[in-house]
């Protein structure tokens, strides 16, 4: 049972001192011939240095990433993208899942800070005073993903304009009575900005009193809200703040025998692959989650190097036209 090899062991076997081996790994000066000796030992024993034992190093080469859940399409895309970017540049990604628990999220941030990570990327469903306080007090660079963060650096979706686009689209296509399934307003980006965009877009077409419902981010939540809306009023369109909520709407509408889009149009936000498989294909607005991860990772590394970065970067969106919105009315509208 071969014991775990340490840097000192490698040094001894290579006939040098651990200072030299350390320099070997950190790009310091090492003569070619000794470099070769060290290399040989490393390969023979599959030695990898312990990233977390670099207690005295100025930089840890570790970036912490805090996410609200591991169980979401969008999050999966974002962290895949971050992890790839950082790995290719020699950084270690340390993922901390908060499981939709705000206290745990704050704890996770504290832990990362004390772990001496070089930077923190946080994708949160809410930016509270506590978050801001921690971020102000730490000297570690922080990039906030998906939420506005006026006091610092953030990468955000263009929630307001995306919402407005969708609101106008629904108005333009001649819908009269619209339901909106949103999320709680502690999530400022989705709960407020996206909603405001949608409402303003609708208003531009004279739709002023949509039926509003609020949900968590679940499939079940989408179903519940759809039932609430249908009980309250006879709507001809339901706009959902996420695709998953739209899946819930589909489920309930189909159960009730209502046709999409003939009886009720449905739109989502998300652009999941699966959405194009629904019948009818879901019309949805896709944010560039990979882009968000990429920009976030790029930005944090720039900050480490002291390069200037934008205070706020806005990620693109793309409207994906499916067949879940009734377009006939559009003709009437154009004629009228």
């Amino acid at each position: 049972m071969p014991k775990k090899i340490t840097m000192a062991d490698v040094a001894e076997m290579a006939g040098v001192t651990k200072s030299t081996v350390s320099r070997f790994f950190n790009g310091g000066y090492v003569k070619k011939s000794t470099r070769d000796k060290i290399q040989k030992v490393i390969e023979q024993y599959n030695y990898v240095p312990n990233t977390f034992a670099r207690l005295k190093a100025k930089e840890s080469s570790v970036i912490g990433v805090v996410v609200p859940t591991l169980n979401s399409k969008v999050t999966s895309r974002v962290i895949t993208s971050i992890d790839r970017y950082l790995r290719e540049r020699g950084y270690t990604t340390l993922i901390k899942n908060s499981d939709h628990d705000i206290d745990l999220e704050l704890q996770n941030i504290q832990k990362l800070i004390h772990l001496n990570v070089d930077g923190i990327l946080i994708s949160s469903i809410a930016m509270t005073k506590d978050h801001k306080k921690i971020f102000e007090e730490t000297q570690i660079p922080v990039v906030v993903l998906a939420q506005d963060y006026e006091e610092g650096i953030s990468i955000i979706d263009d929630d307001y304009n995306a919402g407005k686009y969708v609101g106008e689209y629904i108005g333009k296509t001649g819908h009269k009575k619209v339901g909106y399934i949103g999320v709680y307003e502690t999530d400022v980006a989705v709960g407020l900005h996206r909603k405001d965009g949608v409402l303003d877009g609708l208003k531009a077409y004279g739709i002023v009193e949509p039926v509003l419902a609020k949900s968590d981010y679940s499939f079940i939540g989408g179903q519940k809200c759809t039932r609430e809306i249908l009980e309250e009023e006879k709507v001809d369109a339901i706009i959902c703040a996420t695709d998953r909520l739209a899946f819930g709407a589909y489920k309930v509408l189909q159960e009730k025998g209502l046709r999409i889009p003939e009886d009720v149009s449905v739109v989502g936000f998300g652009g999941y692959d699966e959405s194009s498989l629904l019948t009818p294909e879901l019309t949805t607005l896709k944010f560039d989650s990979y882009g968000m991860g990429y920009l976030g990772a790029e930005t944090i590394l720039k900050m480490l190097k002291g390069e200037p970065v934008s205070k706020k970067q806005i990620v693109e969106y793309e409207f994906i036209q499916g067949n879940s919105v009734k377009l006939e009315d559009l003709k009437d509208y154009n004629k009228g």
Copy 2:
């Protein structure tokens, strides 16, 4: 700008030595009154100990988890479940993504070993000789998820029997010419066992020469293979090794104007939420991914405590009947 607080700082402020603070955190003997003093300082400064500075500790309380991708429903469920289980028991989960790259996967394992993690959970799409060699050489407990590992401890899906169940189901319902979209055989669990189960199930009903296709795990791959199968022969059913592949099959069949299930039946493995939203609802076999994560985490902790564990644990599956398989033939079959 408050500097980062260390254990020594906490000790000084509490008027004790860091040995005592360390004992405070690790359950050693500390008098109630000094415990209170330490507690107060900790709260005031939000102090959290650096988990990775426990270089001399016998146990690190860190469990490493290696996954082949972060971008899959099944993986998301498995790691969510692991993370939750471990967190509630005071362990830190360290997630390493291999991005479907086998070399990176081996590197990740090496890194975890040198990081001194207490145990490793690995979900792999292939168990190579290299994997086995590393696992044999290390003294760190390893639990393999989703792949058979005769030389050690594993938690597996019941791939063969699940496959057989589906094969028999398709046979029983009177299909005659069947296509199978599998994955590469380096993935022994899915590529071999699941396939063998399907083939044996079909054989029991006299279906002996299914049209076979092989794919990676992507939506695009599912589409490609579906086209190949359709070009090769007129099948009345396509069995897909994963739901995502089945999504690809849906896409292509619908494009070609073939009706599901009237013209071609489709079955998948996975039981994703979205599958029930397809039209027709996908008939699929669901493995208990949360259960797999739970069992994996439970097993590794048992191993740490020296408790006995089963060499192999098999996770349950559940057949979810949608409407994507033609059942009329079943009647004929029963009559005949």
